[in-house]
């Protein structure tokens, strides 16, 4: 019967662990074209946020130039970015710092 034990243990290097452990965040950036109420509506629709939270995030985008709107694994962040791009918002993902 063959053994399933590994012959040697491979430890992930620091960067790899960092890649796995650190959450990814989705950032929406201010732009001069999208209407404020549209941005707020998209946050409610895509993330299921309340009107208050969606408006707060939208105002952060408007006044601060950017806002972190969601976080999670890289796959989750990519999925969120896709949905925001589908709605015409300028969104990016990056690892949280």
């Amino acid at each position: 019967m063959s053994s399933t034990s590994p012959l040697e243990t491979i430890s992930p290097d620091v960067d790899e662990r960092n890649e796995l452990d650190t959450p990814w965040v989705v950032i929406v950036w201010n732009d001069p074209i999208n209407l404020m109420e549209y941005v707020s509506f998209v946050f409610r629709k895509v993330f299921g946020y309340s009107k208050d939270k969606a408006n707060r995030l939208m105002m952060e985008v408007h006044l601060n130039g950017r806002s972190t709107v969601s976080s999670g694994t890289r796959e989750e962040a990519e999925r969120d970015v896709f949905r925001l791009h589908e709605h015409g918002l300028w969104a990016t993902l990056q690892q949280d710092t």
Binding site: N30, P32, I33, M36, Y38, F41, Y49, H85, G88
Partner: protein, 302 residues
Amino acid sequence: MGRLDAFNLPDGGDVTFRRVDADAWVTDYPSGWVLALAAALTTIADRFRTDDEPVMLTDSSSVTYGHAELVAVVAESTETLMTGVRSDQVTTEQLAECGASSANLSIMAGAAAELDEVGSERHVELVSARDFFSRYTDRLMRALDPRVRPLGDGTFEMCWNPRDIAMLDALAKDVDGLLESDDASIVRLFPPAYGMDHERSAGYDALVRHELIERRRETLGVLREALELEIVTGEQLESLMRAMNDLRLVLGTELDVSEDDIKVATNHSEPAKWHAYLRLGMLLGQIVEALDGCLEEPDDED
């Protein structure tokens, strides 16, 4: 974000207009709004009282107005607006006159702001006044020219006019034709997902670009089909919303719209394109308002 909505009031502080008869409207101006109006009017009146730095303005028909003419327009617009605001009930014509006056005041506040140093106290006040009247004009135009009406059963009545149909059909066709190109006007439809990390952004783009194009093509198709419909479902209206936003993003990019876009509004070489951009903003605002009213609030939230 678009200047049409860059105006903040406390919750519930916005104006409302309700049609009560064929030619009668009941208006409600909350006290916070009236204070904001007074501040905006004072800012503009003070600025135009002096001709040390005369304000000139050229409109989209290349007609130029001198400072003295603008002072007269400010006085007339202020009087028309105040008459409307003081009345509990107004006619459609009076409401439309208020809209025209408000639009004038917005344009003039913006033109005056351009002469000040960005960030200076007077510049900030004039920009606030400009945004206040933009917002008010927008609310009035939506009330006077309703194009989307929720029917209460999850469907919506669309009231298209022939000019909108022609404009939207032509734009949708044009943008559809650009989707697979590398034209600079569609850059906002495909933002780099990883920002400045060009390698990762390119990798992501290679994976999703096709799907994003297909989804955009689909919503543009729904929009063109809906131009012949009087009733649309909520799902169709959401597609319309996304498609119209795409058209607006492309037009706005072509027009090089910036946060300080009043300059473009008052003196632009492509008035037809600019008009389509503004019209799209008005239609989109109405659709968002209609859909937003149908969204349920979550039970709990962090």
